[in-house]
Symmetry: C2
Subunit: 168 residues, 2 copies
Amino acid sequence: MAAPPRPVLARALLQQCVSARLQVKPPEPGSEAEWVEIQRGLVIYICFFKGADEDLVPKIVNMLLNVQLSESESGKYVSVLDLPGNVLIIPQATLGGKLKGKRMQYHTNTEKEKGLVLYSQFVTLCEKEMAANAKCMEAGVFVKHGTYGNRQVLKLDTNGPFTHLIEF
Amino acid sequence: MAAPPRPVLARALLQQCVSARLQVKPPEPGSEAEWVEIQRGLVIYICFFKGADEDLVPKIVNMLLNVQLSESESGKYVSVLDLPGNVLIIPQATLGGKLKGKRMQYHTNTEKEKGLVLYSQFVTLCEKEMAANAKCMEAGVFVKHGTYGNRQVLKLDTNGPFTHLIEF
């Protein structure tokens, strides 16, 4: 008898972009909206589930930055670190939705406070990994990220999103 | 002992858009690229797995057009049929990728010919459902779709993609 499958602890959705622009602060009376923008690279939508812990984050970061899904100029698929490309991280709790009738439920998502801790750690580790990579430093590529808990207003321009789902 | 889980037969990814533009014919010597475009509505990325059959398609279409994920003007979440909103369908075989080392494999995707049959049926049924809906007809909303097998060059403008995954 096979062991029952371990519940999913995190879900990442990856899309390749030519450029992407994400609102990090909504407009308010007297102040305009604030945006971050990347040029060519990888958009990572990330969602953590109940049971996810700090130990998991380095594994996810390592996997996502090294998976070979970015099309190089020679047509070969390489990692975003090897491209090198920019990274835009978007917290996307809706990715944890489970269909119940005609509605989605989010009961298996991690608690909001814990999600913020994991998300912040995820962003920090991505930034560290990119900064530690000589190719990325030389090319001057960036990690940008959305504000946890905000509406993720996004404009995406792709040469084919080449959408992939990776679960942890 | 619980029954072993049934393998996934199809995976749909949903994003809400303010507008979206998809290339349906790449540029060629002497002819420009052709695009389709929708205004506000739902972007459906769809991928079929081995074992998926024609019987499954009406169930998927019914579910995706009726799931309540579109934000109405009153802030309530309604179906794309009730919004009513436009629909852009994107064939996205990469959604079937499974991680193996640092690469993705697509062994469980349906065969290409079968995938085209299922995709065409999916598009036709979506068009029928929208055409049969009085609200959609009155509002003049559209179903647009990508070309199966092409690179899916996409430009997406959202007020929050509100990304959801639904498996069948």
